[in-house]
Amino acid sequence: MSQRTKIIGCIALLLLPTVGVAGASPPDDPRVVAYAKEVGRSKTEAKRMLGLQDVAGDLQAEISRLMPEILGGFYIEHVPRFQVIVQLTDGDRALIEPLLSGRLNSLRPFLRVEHVQRSLHQLEATRREIASWLNEADIRADLDIDIRENLVTVNAIDPMNLYAALAAAGRSLPTGSKAQAVRELTKPLAGIAGGLSITQCTSGFSVIHPDGRRGIATAAHCDNNQQYYQGTFLPWVYGVTGGDWDVQWHSTPGYTPTNLVWNGVNYVSITGLTYRGSQFVGEFVCKNGRVTGYGCGYIRSTTFAPSSISNPNATWVTVGSSTIYGEGGDSGAPFWKGSSAYGILHGIYYDYGYGEYRLVYMPIDGVANGLGVYVLVSP
């Protein structure tokens, strides 16, 4: 190969990436593509509208903050034309105008202000009232707030039956609500995780039996036959208490147990276990109980023997800090660190020497060696 050929080759190699970049257009944002298709507009218009939606969210937050008592609703219409609709129980567009500065100014051409009778707060109060009546009378129906109609809607398979059942309980649907017929009620398809409220206690970690059945673990001193999750009965499967254990598990009809625990803000994936033998004094671990919520503390002991257990072994773990606390209903709460399960809350005491509450948990070992099931560490 001549010197000249080598030079041309090198120049060509150097130019290749440049040519490649200059010849390609950036990939389309799938969200823009989907929205453009949905509203029948160009991708350029769709991109602009999506940007306006984000700005609209800021406007809603501002109105909710400044005038919550008169905000009746807030929504976006996409077709036939893009509009941001603000519903007020009092006042008109003049109230909103002062907010349309800076970034929010871009919404001005798309803003429509409507008058409605009821505020969102009133609608929510009505919804809660109806929900408690339905609950008392054991009537199944789905409740929603229809912003456009400024009404609470009660979806029932047979509205006439609903009216009759309410009348039998001495009730009738209040002003600002209406019943409507639906073919079927919503079915719970959601997952269930640790750190959530069940009747007497808190759900611990999700578990799986060797035969594939899934469920949720909690403390065994929680009643076997009184545990419900969002109104759904959780049948008791097996439990063990005494010695090293205070744990039982329940099946979860209609809910799929997941390897998640709720920390009060979002869900945390549990992907591993830390057995008692690897837990050490001074480790900082956290829990989420249905009553006292999220809290963290230092492992103070891994050799505690709780008196509230029959023939207790000195295999329990205590956790303390200036902030961690527990109340009735927190039992069963998961303890974890990072993405690793540590244990299931059993009880509490107060340590006068440290001037702190101590939570007592059963190490995670007890789930497998006590129940014969395994903590879920993958979805």
Partner: protein
């Protein structure tokens, strides 16, 4: 012995209830079950029950709102029974009302169904007067949550 006599009186009065006017509300002092003062206790369970506080067979119990058997309530020794004009009440160490008979409330603690734990936590007299099932009431105050009668308590009570 005095409690047995009270219980006997209650039984006789109960038998006569069909042919005599019902006794006044405070004619019989209900029995309040306390943790055995000598029991070693170092932890308190954290389940919760919601139910009505009732007197049944002379004992203070919780009638669970969700169904199930009524359970005898076990209190820490600092709690007391108090005869208010409006009825019996259970008061805490400060004399504040924890709950009244007929009142519905949420009660932290747990069902205690282990015979071994029951034998440690309750005196034979209490077990005889008020047979279970039992609900151990987990107290709210730090001083009531201190480990008690441990071999070597961390620091003596103030």
């Amino acid at each position: 012995m005095k409690r047995k006599l009270q219980l006997g009186t209650a039984v006789i009065l109960g038998a006569l209830a069909g042919c005599t006017p019902p006794p006044a509300r405070d004619s019989i002092t209900p029995h309040i079950v306390m943790l055995n003062p000598s029991a070693a206790i170092n932890s308190w369970p954290l389940a919760v029950i919601e139910g009505e506080i009732v007197i049944e067979e002379g004992c203070i119990k919780v009638k669970p709102g969700g169904g199930g058997a009524n359970a005898v309530l076990i209190f820490v020794p600092s709690f007391k029974l108090k005869d208010l004009e409006s009825g019996w009440a259970i008061v805490n160490r400060h004399g504040e009302t924890w709950g009244k008979i007929g009142e519905t409330r949420r009660i932290g603690g747990a069902i205690i169904d282990s015979a071994e734990v029951i034998s440690r936590y309750l005196t034979p007299t209490d077990r005889q007067i008020c047979p279970g099932p039992y609900w151990l009431v987990t107290p709210d105050e730090p001083v009531d949550l201190l480990p008690r009668n441990q071999p070597s308590p961390p620091v003596p009570l103030p």
